[in-house]
Symmetry: C2
Subunit: 266 residues, 2 copies
């Protein structure tokens, strides 16, 4: 082994428990992929699995994945993406797409983005969304995301197997170390302080819904463009990147306006 | 996206073609895992797949993996590990085991070991060995390896799914950059020069076999310890880390001794 510098210590993740990371699988069809995702979660110290619009038999069959019984047993089933991420402060969507006209920031999976996710976990729960095997995340799913994550791949085949994509993302996130201010290299751990607590996506969604109600009543929403305005408003509110306190204040404001508009209808 | 530094350029592996990386799957049983490994290979620019003692139906069924038809079609089937790696200069075994009494150096998968593998590819083909789903690599398989690679995992479940383990390893190796002398940080690419050409494992194996023959004839091998001496000699020769030229010289020497010992028998 001439010249091969060997690390004397083997790194493991035994002390890691990523309580604030939530894996959300949207419309998974293949039980093997759900099982594989759950298994990768146990490999990398992650245990919160949420399923959206999951085909029931797929969920039941997945319960046999090696070493993943606990994760699968405690997995939660939701009817919509909004419900699955309501208690999260950040939502990251995964995509294989390279040049779809995305209205979201896209980052490549790597040391920097891994550290950023770990960093965002200091300010609240972070959800990572994985779409279905066949179609990935829909535009509507993506409208719930703060940003998108892409695994760097070769053009020959940019589409990864679902279970493998989950494994690669978790491998990168698990070994990352949260560092406040990614650009400041050489900065050590002790300086890290918790980010200001962020509003949950659930709180942001309440604001979006009341704001939408107000916009509908005010004639901003024209016939036929409702779906488009829904996404536009949701993206806007996510971009505001509200702190928890500010979300409360803003919610009070739009609620008051909603009340006034309702009065005016009488 | 306040404060989130976004890389303006998305990294891709389009120009990557890891011709000198060989993925060797030893005794894989599940066609889904062979297919998944092949798919991950196409995702990360790797295309040489070799199978050892592969259960024939598993191989045939695997041919349907998404985007991996070419890799599966050109996959080669071998009867023994020695044959599968004969043209390689380095052999790296993968293991989940943490404290088995291994006589091999073990390194954790990460940026450093990824760069080291890329570096070793400058001096010849590098094989990465993956064992069967159930048992991993045997001691005999491992005796062919220069060193071992472990994916950092959580104690809850140290055993990864085979296809996911391949994906995680290739993700790390694909994005690494070969740098001569891993410790010299800040060194840029242009300074990298090809390592001295290393002997192939096939050449080392020829030396081992002739040396063994000589040892048997010389009474070094006692009844009952033949299998042990086989592994001992193989490991010794691998540790010599022979340059291609030195391997030729040494082979000439042991061949000459073998000839002499044969003469002496007459």
């Amino acid at each position: 082994m001439n010249g091969l510098p060997l690390s004397s210590k083997l790194h493991d993740l035994d002390d890691l428990r990523l309580n604030d990371l939530v894996i959300v699988m949207v419309s998974p069809r293949n039980p093997l992929n759900i099982g594989a995702a759950a298994r990768a979660m146990t490999n990398f110290g992650v245990h919160r699995l949420r399923l959206v619009e999951c085909y029931a038999p797929a969920f039941r069959e997945a319960r046999s994945a090696v070493g993943a019984a606990d994760v699968l047993k405690s997995a939660e089933d939701f009817g919509t993406v909004a419900e699955a991420i309501a208690d999260c402060a950040r939502v990251v969507g995964t995509t294989a797409v390279r040049d779809r006209d995305l209205q979201h920031p896209v980052r490549t999976l790597g040391q920097k983005s891994g550290a950023e996710i770990r960093n965002q976990m200091l300010a609240g729960r972070v959800a990572i969304l994985f779409g279905s095997e066949k179609y990935g995340l829909s535009n509507s799913d993506i409208s719930h995301c703060h940003w998108l994550l892409r695994i760097p791949t070769h053009k020959t085949n940019i589409s990864m197997n679902l279970g493998q994509a989950v494994a690669v993302c978790l491998y990168e996130i698990a070994r990352a170390t949260p560092v406040k201010g990614v650009k400041r290299k050489g900065m050590k751990q002790p300086g890290v302080k918790a980010e200001t607590e962020r509003a949950t996506v659930g709180a942001a969604e309440m604001i979006s819904e009341l704001l939408l109600e107000n916009l509908r009543k005010s004639g901003y929403v024209k016939p036929g463009n409702d779906a488009m305005v829904v996404k536009k408003v949701r993206r806007l509110v996510l971009r505001l990147d509200l702190k928890a306190l500010d979300a409360k204040i803003l919610l009070g404001m739009v609620r008051q306006i909603a009340w006034k508009l309702k009065q005016a209808e009488k």
